[in-house]
């Protein structure tokens, strides 16, 4: 079981309130991703759940029991830190076995569990090495191994992939998702990378300055963002926002259209403008088009666009996919 509920949880450091009252329910077996810009309180929230920070007020429930005052080691949660936090003077085997040793598991049992975890994580050949002799990805796996052997109610990850290079990140992302499928344990995963959030999560929690901007499945957030912050944060490239006359025509303060929902043509369309810089990714091209009287928009087209810098082009938004926001940035129905 790994059901976690936060009830009116707040956190202040001195006089600065980092987390204003916050409510959140995490179901058993869910893969929940906290995502948000740097400094929005993701790590703080995770550390509150782990028990490494004390809540200023509010309540944390784990499996229906009040865990607010329970020390970290008794919460049944395992955490993987951004810096991996491996014990440098212990071999990989001893690192992974450490929680078992602390729990006074006997040696045979300990070895069996360590071997099993090492098998899952492809670490069998490295068990006698020190962390200093491993690559970043291998260290990451050791940190995960140390979490797995405890058989926790839930795993907490704090930006575990941010120290890895792009290719390895994609790999580890898949491995962690795979692990979630096979263990079916609750996982809470912190990242500032919306791609990681979209690809891994069952449920995304978007945080903005300590507040929850929106909670939902990746596609819910993509299709129906509740506010401008979420609309701008989820999706790559970023959603285009248009204010002024064009927005007023739609009865909104601001309208938003994703780059993939803009159609490009040379002969006619809703808006007309000049093509600026084009970013060619091979499969896609991102065109920056300066629309007369509207501003710069990013357009995503498939393959080669066949337009050059300075060409005139017409752009038509998909009317079904226009998001409308009021003056406070909230989505209009």
């Amino acid at each position: 079981m790994g059901k976690i509920a936060l009830k009116h949880v707040t956190k202040s450091f001195g006089t600065t309130e980092v987390i204003p009252p916050l409510d959140l329910d995490i179901e058993d077996g869910e893969f929940v991703v906290f995502v948000g810009p740097s400094g929005c309180g993701k790590s703080t929230l995770l550390r509150l759940i782990a028990g490494l920070e004390d809540v200023t007020s509010g309540m944390i429930e784990i499996d229906g029991n009040d865990a607010t005052r329970v020390p970290p080691s008794k919460r049944g949660l395992a955490m993987v830190f951004q810096s991996y936090a491996l014990y440098p003077h212990m071999s990989v085997r001893k690192n992974i076995a450490f929680p078992l040793r602390m729990a006074k598991v006997d040696e045979a049992e300990r070895d069996r569990k360590v071997e099993a975890a090492a098998g899952i994580l492809n670490l069998t050949d490295y068990l006698e090495r020190r962390p200093g002799q491993l690559s970043g990805g291998q260290r990451q796996r050791v940190a995960i191994g140390r979490a797995i052997v405890r058989e926790p109610e839930a795993f907490l990850f704090d930006e575990p992939l941010s120290n890895l290079d792009a290719a390895l990140r994609v790999n580890m992302r898949l491995e962690i998702s795979e692990l979630h499928q096979s263990l079916a344990t609750t996982m809470i995963y912190v990242t500032h990378d919306q791609v990681e959030a979209m690809t891994m999560a069952d449920k995304i929690v978007v945080l903005n300055a300590g507040r929850i901007a929106q909670v939902g499945s990746p596609l819910e957030l993509y299709r129906a963002p509740q506010n401008k912050f979420v609309a701008g944060f989820i999706g790559s490239p970023k959603m285009n926002f248009i204010e002024g006359e064009e927005a007023r025509k739609q009865g909104a303060h601001t309208i938003g259209v994703r780059p993939e929902h803009l159609a490009l043509s040379t002969d006619g369309g809703t808006w007309e403008g000049t093509v600026g810089v084009a970013e060619h990714l091979g499969s896609d091209t991102f065109l920056h088009v300066h629309i007369d009287g509207v501003g710069a928009l990013t357009v995503r087209t498939q393959g080669e666009a066949g337009l050059n810098h300075g060409d005139r082009a017409h752009i038509t938004p998909d009317p079904e996919r226009i998001h409308r926001f009021d003056g406070d940035g909230l989505a209009l129905a």
Binding site: S73, F81, A85, R150
Partner: protein
């Protein structure tokens, strides 16, 4: 950097310093060796000008044969070992204490370092006269306040008292090095251990202490080098009495009190050998800590 040219330039520029160091070491060393094979009693009229009598290993045999030799080796090792244990145990505790965020941290740190700035002679005198004096010392008052008989520290418990005085001087050094080591410990490691179910003592044993092992090694090495030759503290407190006569002090007595330069020089050579044995021993057991 390491071109042929820059290397020879570096060698050339280092030469004066190396030369000076060599002279600094070699001249006294050869002179000690030279005197140790001679009969040289200045008060009996021996002098370099008259030529000194060659006595072979007689001085060496006599130095070891003296009834003070083995006790002096023992006293040396007890003092060095005692001070090492006290400074490292207290140093680790103090370093952990000073690492905690607290009010007035800057001032407390300066206070802790302060004893290091006091000259050994002065601090030993302060201890002798202000704390350990059986009539007027603070400790005597303390004992009397509780109805006890004041202890004559420097005669009844001379070795422990000396260890205490020297430890007081060296504690700041150990604390300082251990404090910087503690500060370099990644706090996430401690948090990880906490989540892994390690209570405070186990976190200390499994995380903090191994992290400090290299710093402890350095403290042991450096302090041993200096502690083997402590002198002033003994000179102003017990004058070598009550079992506090170390090898260094014995040599001093032979040369200056008995005015036997040859015998003292032989003792000096023994001291060099002892220091090297200890150094070799330390390098063996702790050296691997340094390159890990």
């Amino acid at each position: 950097m390491a071109t042929q040219h820059s290397r020879s330039a570096a060698r050339f520029m280092m030469a004066p310093a190396v030369f000076l160091l060599l002279v600094w070491m070699l001249v006294p060393l050869t002179m000690t060796l030279f005197f140790s094979f001679k009969k040289y009693l200045p008060l009996r009229g021996d002098s370099m000008a008259n030529g000194l009598e060659w006595v072979g290993f007689a001085n060496y045999v006599r130095f070891v044969g003296s009834s003070s030799f083995w006790p002096s080796i023992q006293a040396t090792l007890v003092i060095v070992g005692g001070v090492l244990v006290v400074t490292i145990v207290l140093g680790v505790l103090l370093a952990m204490l000073l690492d905690q965020p607290m009010w007035g941290q800057g001032i407390v740190r300066i206070l802790v370092i302060a004893p290091f700035f006091v000259m050994p002679t002065v601090s030993a005198l302060v201890w002798k006269n202000m704390f350990m004096d059986p009539n007027n010392g603070l400790l005597a008052y303390l004992w009397k306040a509780f109805g006890g008989t004041p202890v004559e520290w420097l005669s009844q418990a001379a070795l422990p008292s000396l260890i205490m005085i020297v430890s007081w001087q060296w504690l700041p050094f150990a604390t300082l090095i251990l404090l910087t080591a503690i500060q370099s410990l990644d706090s996430e490691q401690l948090e990880a251990a906490e989540m892994d179910g390690a209570p405070v003592l186990k976190r200390f044993w499994f995380i903090i202490l191994p992290h400090l092992s290299r710093a402890i090694t350095i403290v042991i090495l450096i302090q041993t080098i200096f502690l083997l030759s402590i002198f002033a503290e003994i000179f102003v407190t017990t004058g070598g009495a009550f079992g506090t006569k170390t090898l260094t002090y014995l040599i001093f007595q032979r040369v200056l009190e008995s005015q036997n330069v040859g015998l003292g020089s032989a003792g000096g050579v023994y001291a060099i050998i002892l220091a090297n044995i200890v150094a070799l021993f330390l390098m063996r057991i702790v050296g691997k800590n340094l390159d890990a």
